[in-house]
């Protein structure tokens, strides 16, 4: 994609566009500004807490204006700009509507990453992770029979409990974001996200160990 320069004027009609992805004057899609973040792309305030209904509304409006289906008869340049802009708003919405993905993105915007140190199991859940992994090992090694069935039952209980807790932790994230009402506490954010990342992997392991049949049961319960 070409790196277009923007001076805040529409490339086609010269009207003032500032941050808008579509020219308010002639509806032409604008080149993406190099430093455009996901919040600005959707016209949202740059804050951890996001009004999800507002996000959806803005996303749908942007899609109506930017989607390639709207530019089928336009020039190749406009088609290319529409493709780039709608791919961006799609990615922005996908990231911002999930509290976990939004939190990670927030870290990135602050020049931080949930990278290396998340390889260490967060201390608060270390014991749980360890015990669960051990249980899984036992289940994998168990020969079919009543003992294996009992183990399976235990693993299934672990799975259900973990799924509930993970949901609660994710919901809690949103509450914290609202309470922070601004930049938030990066250290605490990182700790929470790291815990969630770990528990998500663990839940995946439990699901895999239980196999398709059991997972189907979970789906029905939701």
């Amino acid at each position: 994609m070409e790196a277009d320069s923007r001076q805040g004027e529409c490339w086609r009609c010269g009207a003032e566009v500032r941050d808008a992805l579509v020219c308010p004057g002639c509806q032409a899609v604008q080149p993406l500004p190099a430093d455009l973040d996901y919040f600005r792309a959707l016209g949202l305030p740059r804050r951890l807490a996001v009004d999800l209904a507002d996000l959806e509304r803005r996303y749908l409006d942007a899609s109506r204006a930017l989607h390639p289906d709207r530019f089928q008869t336009a020039s190749p340049r406009e088609q290319e700009l529409s493709l780039a802009a709608s791919a961006l708003v799609n990615r922005a919405r996908r990231t911002l509507r999930s509290s976990v993905a939004r939190g990670r993105y927030w870290l990135e915007l602050q020049g931080d990453r949930l990278g290396e140190d998340s390889k260490r199991v967060p201390p608060a859940i270390a014991a749980e992770v360890f015990e669960t992994q051990e249980k899984l090992e036992e289940l994998r090694a168990a020969r079919p029979g009543p003992a294996a069935e009992a183990l399976r039952h235990e693993v299934r209980t672990l799975h259900d409990g973990l799924a509930d807790r993970l949901r609660a932790k994710t919901d809690e994230l949103e509450t914290r974001y609202a309470a922070w009402n601004g930049d938030g506490d990066l250290v605490e954010l990182k700790r929470r996200l790291s815990e969630i990342a770990y528990l998500t992997t663990l839940l995946g392991d439990l699901e895999a160990a239980l196999g398709g049949e059991e997972t189907r049961g979970t789906d029905r319960r939701h």
Binding site: M1, L60, S63, R64, H67, P68, D69, R70, Q72, T73, L83, A84, S86, A87, L88, N90, R91, R93, R94, G212, R216, D219, R220, H222
Partner: protein, 598 residues
């Protein structure tokens, strides 16, 4: 600019539709009134190609030359053909890459076969609309991967159509339903066609049709139900006929008819060749196919889970595809969603009608509607240790893009190999290979180069890749070699051939064929006159020679009608003579036998 048409390129049948002021309309063949075009193509050794109903009828007679359900082979490699496929067709295994059928003495790829179906639909549309048609929207199963989509686009190109958009079939169907209902809320589209199964969960809000999740099975459809029933019917066929491809094709056709009749009746009688009539009860048929129909349950559950909804959240379930006429399929849908499916629109036509609406959206006639679709399967690359590393997750809204930076593992590498894959498995080798390419880079110590690879999935669900060497700042366009597709050179060659074929005046071909026919009959007559001169009655040889002279004169002209007429005249003259020779030969043969018997 002509009108954009919407095409449902189906496994069993194909249709073409347009958006009119009164809504979408399927275009029938003005000559026959047919709305459905069977997706069947017969290749004759003389170069003639027959498409549609007649081709489907020819399957019993010319099984190898008649390709049915070609959609099942789109975007696949020869290694994906099943044993049954190999019994049914002959494949050209000489070249790797894409599947090639040997039909009518030619080697043809699935996109070329599909192009014949598309060309016929285009002809119908042009005849019905009275104007040239050059642009189309074509539908594909939602669960089609990148290769299968690319193959469909190639087919359109080969048929002389600019494919403006590939639309997922269930999404298209939702457009047709949503249009007159002004619906809001979550709907599910259950699409069981001839060869593929799709399930899509959509949210409708204020004219926007947003796909939340899609799932499916590209090798499950009505064809599989037919195959089960055909296997049962084959048991009645004498053992040494069972492997004959013509017998198999006829039994399969009988099974398909029986399946359809069983949707309306409790019991049908089927005539099987070489065997007695067999009576089949609906319950017996259902027992045969139950596991196949139940296989749709797992994709449905996965799609609901990915969409984050429960069956209770689904306001309507839409039935699409001819196979949803099967009562067992409808009952299965009802069990899965807890409500009977909507069947207001003909399940054979609903996808084409939706494609017609999408064509209208693209031409700017329906600015109030918009489709937001998703990538059906995750896209990614192979990383160290053969691991599949996802760059774009399944059910991501398209268009979608992602950038990833890579580096090298060895000093002074001059290029980086990238293997692009699609699928949900952990290991690269378990997923579908889409393409491999090399990114040339400036040599540097290991770990220093920074290569930025951008994946971009367009609104058709088709992936393109670009790469930039961030250290040198040079952007390079990547030549992607499709693993199971046709490259541009091959497409150009096929296009040239098909243009040759179209541009070669029909008259020229007719002339060539008429001349060959004339030469054959002239030679045969000359031989007969020499060896059987005594069989001619007085004056007959002269009359025949006159007719031969007339034919030779016609042969020298360019007028194929005159040649044909002269061939016929000669045939009429030689007929009594030929019959006499035949009688004599028969008498001789019988006479000899009598002698032998004595």
């Amino acid at each position: 600019m002509g009108r954009i048409v919407g095409i449902d390129l189906g496994t069993t049948n194909s249709l073409v539709a347009v958006l009119t002021d009164d809504g979408p309309r399927v275009l029938a063949d003005p000559a026959t009134g047919e709305r459905l075009l069977p997706s069947a193509v017969t290749f004759f050794p003389n170069g003639e190609v027959v498409v549609g109903t007649r081709a489907r009828e020819l399957a019993g007679e010319r099984p190898f030359d008649t390709i049915l359900s070609v959609k099942r082979f789109m975007g696949l490699g020869p290694e994906h053909a099943t044993d049954e496929d190999r019994r049914r067709y002959r494949f050209d295994e000489a070249k790797g890459g894409v599947v090639r059928f040997l039909a009518g003495g030619r080697s043809v790829t699935p996109p070329e076969v599909s192009a014949h179906v598309l060309r016929e639909l285009r002809r119908r549309a042009e005849a019905a609309l009275g104007e040239p048609v050059t642009q189309a929207v074509i539908t594909v199963p939602a669960y089609f991967n990148d290769s299968q989509r690319q193959a469909t686009k190639d087919a359109g190109r080969l048929a002389g159509l600019e494919v403006l958009r590939l639309v997922n079939e269930p999404t298209a169907a939702s457009l047709a339903y949503g249009l007159d209902k002004g619906a809001e809320g979550v709907i599910a589209v259950y699409d069981l066609g001839g060869g593929t199964f799709d399930i899509s969960i959509l949210r409708l809000h204020a004219g926007i049709f947003e796909v939340l999740a899609t799932n499916g099975d590209t090798r499950l459809g009505g064809d599989d139900l037919d195959a089960r029933l055909a296997a049962l019917l084959l048991e009645d066929v004498p053992a040494n006929d069972r492997d004959r491809p013509d017998v198999r094709a006829r039994v399969l056709a009988a099974a398909e008819r029986a399946k359809r009749e069983l949707s309306a009746r409790e019991r049908v009688d089927v005539a099987v060749e070489g065997g007695d009539r067999r009576s089949i009860a609906r319950a017996e048929f259902e027992a045969l196919v139950r596991d196949l129909v139940e296989r749709t349950g797992e994709p449905v559950r996965r799609a609901l889970k990915d969409a984050g909804v429960t069956p209770g959240d689904v306001r309507e379930v839409v039935a699409v595809g001819g196979s949803t006429r099967v009562p067992l399929v409808r009952r299965t849908m009802e069990t899965l969603f807890g409500r009977p499916p909507l069947v207001d629109i003909d399940p054979d036509e609903v996808v084409a009608l939706g494609a017609g609406i999408q064509a209208g959206i693209l031409s700017g006639r329906r600015g109030d509607m918009l489709l937001l679709d998703v990538v059906p399967l995750s896209l990614g690359i192979e990383t160290m240790g053969g691991v599949f590393s996802r760059l774009i997750d399944r059910n991501t809204t398209i268009p979608a893009s992602v950038k990833e930076t890579f580096t090298t593992a060895v000093d002074d590498q001059t290029s980086v190999d990238v293997h692009v894959l699609q699928g949900e498995r952990e290991l690269a080798s378990d997923n579908r290979s889409l393409a491999r390419f090399k990114i040339p880079i400036a040599p540097m110590p290991a770990g220093l180069p920074r290569i930025e690879v951008t994946f971009l999935v367009d609104a058709n669900g088709i992936l393109s890749v670009t790469a930039a060497d961030l250290r040198t700042g040079t952007e390079r366009s990547v030549e992607v070699k499709p693993s199971y597709g046709l490259n541009d050179v091959e497409i150009e060659r096929m296009l040239e051939e098909s243009i040759d074929l179209a541009e070669e005046d029909v008259r020229q071909r007719q002339l060539r064929e008429a001349r060959v026919e004339a030469e054959i009959i002239l030679r045969a007559t000359r031989d007969s006159l020499r060896t059987h001169a005594d069989a001619a009655v007085p004056g007959e040889a002269e009359r025949i020679r006159d007719a031969m002279a007339a034919l030779e004169a016609a042969h020298a002209t360019e007028d194929y009608v005159a040649i044909r007429d002269a061939v016929e005249a000669l045939n009429r003259q030689t007929e009594p003579f030929a019959r006499r020779i035949m009688d004599r030969a028969l008498t001789e043969a019988l006479g000899q036998r009598r002698l032998e018997e004595l």
